[in-house]
């Protein structure tokens, strides 16, 4: 964990006399390295390594332009800075894509895969056939995959300000991450087991009664069973 007072003091001294850089870099290294996974769920070690080097090149400039504020932690601000750098980094490394015609055996393999993905297709159709409210409830079961636009849609659907929902995001995510840490240890891997939010956590997040969420989940299960015969989201 980064000690906010310590890092702010070190940066202030660095800005005055260019000292402390090795110590600052040491403190921030791990955070920078894991940032693609933390912020964008990108776990590939090569990308993490490349991004680390990309940021380290720019770190002196980042530190020089930082203006400490008492009511905001350096780490939080640094996350925003890293986010912007990561978007630029991705843009810069995007390779030119050339369209290569598929070979015969590749076409056959694709067709074979399509056969295997019938279940996924059914699930997609089921998801599309649900009402917007039920779709959002299902998404809340896996809150890790929530997108900003889902939050805006939730606000609209449940008559709440998105900012209010955002303030309560930790109610639903903290529990998930606790479960994940228990199951997967420190993740750092894309091959992790996914935890589901409980009806209670969803209800707390939405500010509604838990039995209402349970009732909706039962209804979704019924719709799913009637459409695909088997329910995949327990």
């Amino acid at each position: 964990m980064i000690n906010d007072q310590e890092i702010k003091k070190l940066i202030e001294e660095y800005q005055q006399n260019q000292q402390n850089y090795p110590r600052i870099k040491e403190i921030l290294s791990e955070l920078i390295y894991h940032f693609p996974a933390i912020g964008f769920e990108v776990y590939h070690e090569d990308i993490k390594g490349d991004f680390y080097l990309y940021v380290i090149d720019r770190l002196p400039k980042i530190l020089s332009s930082y203006q400490p504020r008492e009511n905001a932690q350096f780490k939080t601000f640094f996350f925003l800075v890293l986010r912007n750098h990561y978007l630029n980094f991705v843009k810069a490394r995007k390779p030119e894509r050339k369209s290569i015609p598929l070979e015969k055996d590749e076409i056959a393999a694709e067709e074979k895969d399509t056969g295997k993905n019938v279940d996924l297709e059914k699930m997609t159709l089921l998801f599309a056939s649900l009402s917007p409210k039920y779709r959002l409830i299902l998404k809340l079961r896996c809150p890790e995959f929530l997108l900003p636009e889902d939050m805006l849609a939730l606000g609209k659907e449940f008559g709440q300000n998105p900012s209010e929902l955002l303030k309560r995001l930790d109610l639903i995510l903290k529990d998930i991450y606790r479960q994940e840490k228990k199951i997967n240890g420190n993740t750092g891997s894309k091959n992790k087991k996914i935890s589901l939010a409980t009806p209670r956590a969803i209800a707390e997040f939405l500010g509604i009664r838990a039995n209402l969420v349970s009732k909706w989940l039962v209804e979704i299960r019924k719709i799913a069973e009637s459409q695909i015969g088997e329910f995949y989201v327990s």
Partner: protein, 171 residues
């Protein structure tokens, strides 16, 4: 007009006063760009402990070799790093040697003049890249065939699925 990034950070941390907080909330309810930033921060702050707390320390150990001593953080000495723990075997060591364990492979790092020498007690496979991402060594390492590195660069040493970033400064 969009709030400044530090105000957004303070809001995410619940550090704004009520009036400023309400003003900012009114803005982010209308501004998808600021809402996206706030959402990103909230999620990233909650996800961070999954990766940082007790994380594979060995993955990102940065070794600073300064003047006559090998310094790791504020401690000088020989290092024995494992997946989840880091211990200093000898705090008073004068010889510039670091012992490092990566994927079960024990590496001895010695400073010889301007060069860094990497030796392994037992035979093991390693790959070393420099900071320009150029592979400088890929193959077997053991006591009979040490690897020599320039002391003014950083290296990414990979063994199995584990990686360690080594940085040498002012050797």
């Amino acid at each position: 007009m969009c709030p400044d990034d530090q105000d957004l950070c303070a809001w995410v941390e619940n550090q704004l006063n009520e009036a400023d907080s309400k003003k900012l909330e009114a803005h982010i309810n209308q501004c998808p760009q600021c809402f996206e930033k706030a959402f990103f921060l909230k999620k990233a702050l909650l996800r961070e402990p999954l990766f940082i707390e007790g994380k594979k320390l060995v993955e990102k150990i940065v070794l600073w070799v300064e003047r006559q001593n090998i310094k790791i953080g504020n401690t000088i000495g020989a290092l024995n790093a494992k997946m989840s723990e880091l211990s200093f075997r000898n705090h008073d060591v004068k010889k510039e040697v670091v012992l490092l364990e990566i994927a079960g492979l024990k590496l001895k790092i010695e400073k010889n003049g301007e060069e860094i020498q990497l030796i392994s007690e037992v035979q093991g496979e390693i790959q070393i890249k420099n900071q320009q991402d150029r592979i400088v060594f890929s193959g077997k390492i053991n006591a009979q065939s040490p690897v020599y590195l320039k002391g003014d660069q950083g290296y990414l040493i990979k063994s199995g699925n584990e990686e360690i970033m080594l940085e040498f400064k002012n050797v």
